[in-house]
């Protein structure tokens, strides 16, 4: 792992991109890393494009700015590719991970000439299959961990079970579904 | 902490000794405040005409009409501002209202 890994999330208000960034921070924290997880705040509008960020590092990171040159970008909603320049500043050594049922190469034309890795995962379908609803953030979390290697996979899966057990203390039926969504996304993500 | 009694806080007190925020650490301190020297008119009590109806005592805005064992006594001029309310309410002309003299105003308020 690099000294510091920076991740930018693009989602739409209400899709859980902020929650996913906080869950990723939690998971990385549990592996002994220093973490930052923060959304960019403004008016709260369902469906409007929103951004959230993660920094994951071995030493405490003192920087408190948004992330302009991320190592990884996660796009929780494919339609954002046509509304936001999601790969702006993205490292060519890194990757963009898109919630899409398409193959990675099919999206390259929509990514403003980005030359790095493109990954896709059909988070909507995985979510429908495992949770019965469209909650794409859990599968996207699994996909970004798989692609970035920012957390050892085995620890991640174990820790997430605990996180979900805590988060869904009053809705335990959600725990297994979320775990299946997470693992399925890690298995199915296409790295192009 | 400066815990001065109210009576010790006078206009010559230094800032080091004054109470923080002007707090007053005791009750009933108004009884130490002399208002008798505000007076330009003074009520005078005529015991011979008084029927002890006690209408006057509760109308006094300060504590200038002492009442003891159900009977009013002579004015306590330390507190009397000379407002004249007692003179107005007395039904028996037992209180007259007279001009204050210069010497008396400058004294301790008592005749």
């Amino acid at each position: 792992m690099k000294e510091i890994v920076e991740i930018r999330w693009h989602g739409r208000g209400g899709q859980g991109a902020k929650t996913a960034s906080l869950l990723l921070a939690d998971a990385a924290f549990n592996t002994g890393r220093y973490v930052q997880g923060f959304p960019e705040y403004g008016p709260e509008r369902m469906g409007a494009p929103i951004t959230a960020y993660n920094r994951i590092s071995r030493e405490r990171c003192t920087v408190h700015s948004n992330i302009y040159e991320p190592d990884y970008v996660v796009v929780v909603d494919e339609t954002l590719l046509y509304a936001v320049d999601v790969t702006k500043g993205l490292s060519e050594e890194g990757a963009v991970i898109v919630n899409s049922d398409k193959k990675p190469e099919e999206l390259r034309g929509s990514l403003h000439g980005y030359q790095g890795k493109i990954c896709t995962v059909d988070a909507g379908r995985i979510s429908e299959e495992t949770l019965g609803k469209n909650f794409p953030n859990t599968p996207m979390l699994g996909a970004v961990v798989k692609v970035s290697g920012v957390i050892p996979e085995e620890n991640f899966v174990k820790d997430m079970r605990q996180s979900f057990a805590h988060k869904f203390a009053t809705k335990p039926q959600m725990i297994e579904g979320n775990m299946r969504a997470l693992v399925k996304a890690m298995q199915e993500v296409l790295i192009g | 902490m400066n815990s001065k009694r109210a009576a010790e806080i006078r206009e010559d007190i230094r800032w080091q000794e004054i109470t923080p925020g002007g707090a007053v650490y005791e009750g009933g301190t108004a009884s130490a405040v002399k208002t008798g020297d505000w007076r330009v008119m003074r009520p005078v009590f005529h015991a011979d005409r008084c029927r002890q109806c006690l209408l006057c005592a509760p109308t006094c805005p300060d504590m200038a009409i002492p009442v003891k064992d159900g009977k009013r006594e002579d004015f306590d001029y330390f507190y009397c501002k000379g407002c004249g309310i007692c003179f107005k309410v007395c039904p028996f002309q037992a209180i007259s209202f007279e001009k204050e003299t210069h010497q008396e105003v400058n004294g301790d308020g008592n005749p």
Binding site: L22, Y41, C61 | M1, S3, G22, Y25
Partner: protein, 392 residues
């Protein structure tokens, strides 16, 4: 003994308050401080604290409730931001002049207008002369640690002044970061209880906040001013005790790479961390740069700043608050005053930056250092009052 956790700044402050277990919280919600009373009210509902939570209809009433409670001898706390702090304005002065050491968690947000919910320091900077102590935090850790120390400072008999514990809205309040918590038993032993010598519920009757006539008013204000002067020593005493408990040291200011710095920044809050990254990057390139972060803005660390800065060549004083004096921001004016009597003294430049959530980056801070270098080279600040990252 520390507990490794990850919390947002608001969670950290709410958790500190839970550990302290104050007597009264009077609060009204406003972004971005809402989460503090929100989390805290859950602690109250769960019976995890003994605090009387007073929900009110406005911030004016929130602070009024705290004033009454504190005068009664209770340890009272509140939290607010921006327009909420503005609505408390009259009571800020009442609390301070009545010498009631209330604690206010201020989550800094731009004060209208145009209306904006994001971070700058215009809210608490406006209250800088209300008589409250002001401690500012760079991180969630500092917000937590300042809260643990605040009441000990404010309630000290030589101080007796209310305290604002400030952190940057969203930037630290809503960002999850690592934090080291102190065990609750240790917090309670450290924070203790509020035991005023006199209070409305004490054995003797008492009057608080009486009308003051000219014959006494100045003596009361002079006495109040002494509380602020004394606070410098008390802040350091409490910090030393806190360091013995946690290993984390605090002063009135924090210096970073100032030992031989030619160019330096002075700033407050979360952007100091971003600036530290710029300092490290420039140091690696051989530049003699450093920064001074202000933790205690009230009392103002004038002597400490003069000592830290007087050997620099050029200093940028960064205000996250427009000030509108037409002569630079409030921090700039006070740093100038602090250095006026120093010889030698550096060239001073005012930067207004980060207003209403304008992002502050490492690159921006490097640019400021570049401009300072130019100022140093030409020997005079061509434009002493500058705005950072504004289009024009």
């Amino acid at each position: 003994m520390g507990i490794r956790e990850r919390l947002s700044g608001n969670e950290a402050v709410a958790y500190a308050l839970k550990q302290i277990n104050p007597d009264v919280m009077g609060a009204f919600p406003i972004t971005p401080s809402t989460e503090i009373p929100q989390y805290f009210s859950q602690y109250v509902a769960n019976g995890e604290v003994d605090t009387a939570f007073i929900p009110v209809e406005s911030e004016h009433s929130a602070l009024s409730a705290c004033i009454g409670a504190e005068a009664a001898g209770a340890r009272a706390v509140t939290a607010t931001s921006s327009c909420g702090l503005a609505l408390m304005w009259e009571l800020l002065y009442v609390a301070a002049s009545s010498r009631l050491p209330i604690t206010l968690a201020c989550v800094n947000r731009a004060l209208s207008g145009p209306i904006n919910i994001n971070n700058d320091h215009s809210d608490s900077m406006g209250a800088r002369d209300s008589g409250w102590l002001q401690l500012y935090a760079e991180t969630n850790q500092e917000a937590y640690d300042n809260m643990l120390q605040a009441m000990r400072i404010a309630e000290h008999p030589d101080v007796q002044l209310p305290v604002m514990v400030c952190q940057d809205g969203f930037i630290t309040s809503h960002a999850i970061e690592n934090i080291e918590l102190v065990e609750t038993d240790a917090v309670r032993a450290f924070a203790g209880q509020y035991r005023p010598e006199h209070s409305l519920l004490g054995p003797e009757p008492m009057s608080v906040g009486p009308y003051d006539v000219p014959a006494y008013y100045m003596e009361h204000k002079r006495h109040q001013a002494q509380g602020m002067i004394n606070a410098k020593r008390v802040i350091l005493d409490v910090a030393r005790e806190f360091e013995r408990m946690t290993g984390r040291g605090y002063g009135l200011i924090e210096t970073c790479r100032m030992e031989d710095a030619e160019c330096a920044l002075v700033l407050i809050g979360s952007s100091a961390g971003t600036a530290k990254a710029a300092v490290e990057r420039l140091r690696a390139a051989g530049k003699r740069v450093g920064l001074v972060k202000i933790r205690a803005f009230r009392p103002f660390p004038a002597e400490e700043l003069a000592a830290a800065l007087q050997n620099c060549g050029a200093v940028a004083v960064m205000d996250k608050c427009a000030g509108f004096s037409a002569a630079g921001g409030p921090l700039f004016a006070e740093v100038c005053a602090a250095l006026y009597g120093a010889a030698p003294r550096p060239l001073l430049v005012s930067y207004t930056y980060g207003l209403g959530g304008r992002d502050v980056t490492v690159d921006s801070m490097e640019r400021v250092f570049g401009e300072l270098e130019e100022t140093l080279r030409t020997g005079a600040a061509a434009e002493p009052c500058r705005w950072l990252d504004v289009r024009g």
